[in-house]
Amino acid sequence: MESDKHFFWRLTRYYSWYTVGFILFLLVLAVLEHEGMPRAWIGYLFMFVTIALYAGIGVVSRTSDVPEYYVAGRRVPALFNGMATAADWISAATFISLAGGLYLQGFDGLAYIMGWTGGYCLVALLIAPYLRKFGQYTIPDFLAERYPGRYSGNLVRILAVIATIIISFTYVVAQIYGVGLITSRFTGIDFSIGIFLGLASILVCSFLGGMRAITWTQVAQYIIILFAYLIPVIWLSAKHTSVPVPQVAYGSVLPKLNAAEKRIADDPKEKEVSAIFQARADDYEKKLRTLPRSWEEGRIDAQHHIEEVKRNSHASLAEIKSASRALTAYPKSAEEAERKWTDAKAYNIARAQPPVSQTEPFPGKDEDAANIKRNNFLALVFCLMVGTAALPHILMRYYTTPSVHEARKSVFWTLFFIMLIYITVPALAILVKYDIYTSLVGSNYAHLPDWVYYWANIDKVNPLVSITDLNHDNVVQLGEIALDGDIIVLATPEIAGLPYFISGLVAAGGLAAALSTADGLLLTISNALSHDVYYKVIDPAASTQKRVTISKLLLLVVALLAAYAASLKPGDILSMVGVAFSLAASTLFPALVFGIFWKRANQPGAIAGIVAGFVMCVYYLLTTHPAFGGTVANQWFHIAPISAGLFGVPVGIAALVIVSLLTPPPDERTLALIDHIRTP
């Protein structure tokens, strides 16, 4: 076995060469594009080359050895583990949607930035070093050892496995969904084919080499993510501020952006557009009030219209088509009309609002509205932070370092590498916003930039961007632009005027972000099933060979299930990822932290804590989340369902403490275990 230091330098050498190779690959593509290679081919090249690369790393790092498969042999140096964890952490949602969220929500969007970085303070201070000292394989492993019982030591293990699977599965479906979106948007191949292509690379990688292959792939993926995120922003920053350090330079754009916001807010033409949306909303309101009569009248009108158009010999084919489309799209029943029109009313009211200020904290009609926003911001930050410190696929990574001190250092590197991306996110959102507010708004409809046409046609059903001249003045008003948040990152290269191969790079970055997270999650789920359920509960006498084989088979099954779930395109899955944080916080966090810091916590307490936290969190979700048939009226203190953990965590902690105190303290062996993990 080579020394740690030697190993570290060998890795550094490999990844330096890899980075140089990647830059060369970019240069080759730049030349090819210059020589006239079609766009679609550049997209294909990026997809296939990167996917083949990940699969290649998987083949090279294949293993069937238990410690190698589950924890990469526990010799991943802190810096590389940090990089791999950062790639594990930066999901499709972070890469593609975070900047868009900031763009659309202004200050409120910053809750994600704070929550997803501050959580690492909790990981570093409360959990990572102790888990490393404990030194087993999974999170349920730790909870089961810490909370043994008179009747069954595996009760806590099973509960932890259930929590791990629920949390990780929702999360992994969203990642695979992201893979499908990115491949279909950039290469034009079908959504489901995109999913299975991405899946193939995930499988080759984790199937052959488990944690070891995943770790080395994730380091490679992080490097691609970093390039893909930074290059377009640096360019945009150089364009608008002539300083190529966006993280600092965007400050000089802020006052100009504020001025543009004010100018737009006072523009009479903008008010015209806003009045159009308000009138439409009022119209829906009127129709909703006179249901079901208004529905019948509307249907008859639509039929009349189609007959009229057909009778008119001058009508073009397009007119006839649009009239018949209007009739097929018309609500089939009064109930459907009520639902559709309520949505349409809300949509038009939203479009009629003046734009949100980018930097003003908690804008609201009055003090109360602003306070509700502030409280929700705090609640969301709390849930994201505590949830981060309880996500099994992240915590599991701290088993892979050589020592406790390396585990602490590794949390630092994780936060450092995450920060490189996150600190750029506000710069990206603000620079793009400035560009759109100053060069797109006020321009002539005859000269719309190419990227608007390109992205408007990618997804015809839910266009990422749509611009319509509502007040027929031939000038673009801000109110006339409808943007999907995802476009902010995807279209930045084109907005900045960069060549197409940079767009391909951004797509490859998004794909790397989704794949790296999916890799880690799938391994977490299959390990929970194979190690915790099969080996620890069903067949403790299983040979190591059998354990790894079972794990690989389960990985395949879970991956196919997740891909199947993603191919159904569950619309709410993306919002469910936020919910996964609340769920992780409520179920696993109290048992983990009290297990380390409070010797008196015992098995009945842990069971009560996990169950109570879970029940509380799920109850709040069911009663308040519209996707589960809940309503806003059921909210407590106006807290949004995504922050269900705000109630779940205290309930979980209270249950753990009360039940622990009412039942006998843990035995000598457990106390010795706690002393053992507290000493480095």
């Binding site: 200050f107 910053l110 930035i113 704070m114 970085t117 501050g118 690492y120 303070c121 909790l122 570093a124 201070l125 409360l126 070093p129 993280q247 400050g251 000089s252 802020l254 006052p255 980018q358 930097t359 003003e360 904290p361 908690f362 602003a370 502030r374 911001f377 705090l378 930050v381 932070m385 406790v404 001190h405 602490r408 250092k409 949390v411 630092f412 936060l415 450092f416 920060m419 996150y422 600190i423 996110v425 506000p426 810091f597 002393d675 507290r678 000493t679 480095p680």
Partner: protein, 94 residues
Amino acid sequence: MEHKTTSATTPSTYWDKTRRLTMALLGLWFVITFGAVFFARELDRVNLFGWPLSFYMAAQGIMLVYLAIVVVYTIWMGRAERQLQQTGEHAHGE
């Protein structure tokens, strides 16, 4: 001799030290997070090189504080760990 008395660390004093440091840093973590959000409207009036302070804190500043917390923890714990090992070696040697 003096060196030995200041750095004598047993597992239980090590744990006390860890707990104190953890509490202090968690306190800082909480105050800075809660303060920056709760008083965001008040901080908005303060200007920092062109950034409204509340926006800067939430967007970037607080992240740097978090990183600093982790750095301080890692360095101090690394030092405490070395002291504990030294004491252990002394005890074995005598």
